[in-house]
């Protein structure tokens, strides 16, 4: 029997290291027809803000080589709607439900986190200080170590459960941001959010996205994500959750080898909605083939 459970600290123990990335998995139930969502270590629901947000105008998406750009802009109905209408539907899941929280100001983040703190069935918050698609806040907090620490510190004061902080790759040195949020009290870091990119329709001489630039995800970003997970896992003591272009179990194992204690499946959910289940089965198969009986022995075990 292979042991798959991983502990991310501060009472966040996952039955296995497979999570799904915020904004690619809705609220979980959209995937009920495709596989048993509770079989995953957990799932991270769509970015939630204090007030409802309409997001950006269409077009919000462009397909690019081995990837896609999006410019959704955190469209959601706000935390009160989440609490009243969506949270009750999440009680049926037996695994870890994690809520991604975003905001335009420190006060926004604190107010939203305080509300989420009242929900027993939410195991953790993933603090999104890395959305590239909003004008105010978002990535602004995640590109400056002092501002990143400030928002994490403020949320830490009102949220005692596990606090995961999602980092942006759009920085010169991601380890500086990781260390700053670790010092401010983050229990774990997840990386990477999307890479800022752009696509152009040459025939029409126009940008493909309404916002001109957007966030790049999918297999195209995997090497960048792996590099950053490797760097951050050597720079901080808190667990690292790796994401960026994971489409199969081999990709996931690469992240675990690089130092991630868990992984998130993102864009691949759009292409094959059963990807997380396939990745989980494939990790188990990999461990058996390599005679490893505990997934924790794989984490950070890259031979260099």
């Amino acid at each position: 029997m292979v042991k798959l459970s991983v502990n991310l600290g501060n009472n966040l123990s996952l039955a296995n290291p497979v999570l799904t990335a915020s904004g690619t998995f809705g609220y979980g139930y959209e995937y009920d027809d495709f596989f048993d969502v509770s079989s995953l270590g957990g799932f991270i629901v769509k970015g939630t803000t204090l007030e409802p947000r309409q997001g950006n105008p269409a077009p919000r998406m462009a397909e690019t080589p081995s990837g896609m750009l999006n410019a959704v802009g955190l469209q959601n109905k706000g935390v009160e709607y989440f609490v009243s209408n969506i949270y009750p539907k999440l009680l049926k899941y037996s695994n870890c439900v994690i809520v991604n929280v975003s905001g335009s100001s420190v006060e926004d983040y604190v107010a939203t986190a305080s509300r989420i703190a009242q929900l027993d069935h939410v195991a953790a918050i993933e603090l999104n200080i890395s959305c590239p698609n909003v004008k105010k806040g978002g990535m602004g907090f995640g590109t400056n170590p002092d501002m990143a620490a400030q928002v994490v510190d403020a949320v830490r004061k009102v949220y005692s459960k596990h606090l995961m902080v999602k980092l942006t790759p759009n920085v010169t040195d991601i380890t500086a941001i990781a260390r700053a949020v670790e010092s401010a009290g983050a229990d774990s870091v997840s990386l990477i959010n999307t890479l800022l990119g752009m696509a152009i329709d040459a025939e029409r001489r126009r940008p493909m996205l309404s916002t001109i630039t957007g966030g790049l995800s999918g297999p195209a970003v995997k090497p960048v994500a792996l590099r950053m997970v490797w760097q951050v896992s050597h720079a901080v003591k808190i667990p690292v959750v790796g994401l960026g272009g994971i489409a199969n179990a081999t990709d996931a194992v690469e992240f675990l080898l690089a130092g991630a204690s868990a992984v998130q499946i993102g864009t691949a959910n759009f292409i094959d909605p059963s990807t997380p289940a396939r990745v989980l089965a494939g990790i188990e198969d990999y461990l058996r083939r390599h005679n490893i009986d505990n997934v924790n022995d794989l984490i950070g075990s890259l031979i260099v």
Binding site: T24, A58, M61, S66, M68, N70, T267, I271, P273
Partner: protein, 258 residues
């Protein structure tokens, strides 16, 4: 309605016009409940390695024979690769998706309006309306005669009125120029259900807007997931940005900001 992801076996791939293919696949032992106007997300390996699925209208479905049909316009690498599949090949399919045309709001004499490949979902719609006792009438427009698709098949089901931009078949002009849309003729219809290019659907809606008849349109946008999670395919409505994939693709035009 349960959604499935399955590798369906291609039964036939037939070019019905230049750039248009009728693809028939077997749903094997799956018994999906399919409403006319729903779509599927299709994917196959392409030479350029396209990542995303392509949302394609369900053209027809025969539940007894387990045969699902798509009428596909070959536009880019992905749709071309899908249409190159041969009998026996597998087609990676997520289906059925979205909300179809509201049969309960169609009434006794619905007018089905198709532009170009937009006739695709109207086949299953016409069949189901007829089986419910309604008497649909079709109005189809295309750039030119060679892009009028499956007219004979539709004509076997119900009356078909035709327009072409160049006058090569039917009246010369847009489908919204057909005499059917004059106020006196339009009043004989119980509803209008449209699928086609957005400018054509807007033109039809403009003709219908002055009447009390409901006009339902099937929107086409770029999509990623098709199941309501990525929020990439939104359209601006009276209720704010709604997802074309799961809130639509069929909308009453009164709810759209047109």
């Amino acid at each position: 309605m349960t959604k499935y992801r399955a590798d369906l076996t291609v039964l036939s791939s037939t070019d019905v016009a230049q750039d248009f293919t009728l693809l028939r696949v077997s749903t094997h032992d799956i018994d999906p409940v399919i409403a006319p106007g729903q779509f599927a997300e299709l994917r196959t390996v392409t030479p350029t390695g396209n990542l995303l699925r392509r949302p394609i209208s369900i053209h027809d479905y025969d539940p007894k024979a387990h045969v699902l049909s798509f009428l596909i316009r070959r536009v880019g690498d992905a749709t071309k690769a899908i249409c190159r599949l041969r009998p026996g090949d597998k087609l990676d399919t997520v289906f059925p998706l979205g909300n179809g045309f509201p049969l309960d709001k169609a009434g006794n004499r619905p007018l089905l309006v198709g532009g170009g490949v937009g006739v695709a979902p109207l086949m299953l719609l016409a069949k189901q309306l007829i089986s419910c006792g309604a008497s649909p009438v079709c109005a189809f427009g295309a750039k030119t005669e060679s892009e009028l698709l499956l007219i004979d098949e539709f004509s076997r089901l119900c009356p078909v009125h035709i327009s072409t931009d160049d006058g090569s078949k039917g009246i010369k002009g847009f489908v919204s120029d057909l005499p059917l849309f004059s106020p006196s003729e339009l009043s004989s219809f119980s509803s209008v259900m449209v699928c086609g290019p957005t400018p054509m659907m807007k033109a039809v809606n403009n003709r219908v807007a002055s009447s009390s008849i409901d006009c339902f349109v099937s929107l086409e946008t770029m999509m990623a997931c098709g199941i309501g999670v990525c929020l990439c395919c939104v359209t601006d409505t009276q209720e704010g940005n709604l997802r074309v994939c799961t809130d639509g693709p069929v909308f009453n035009t009164k709810s759209l900001k047109w």
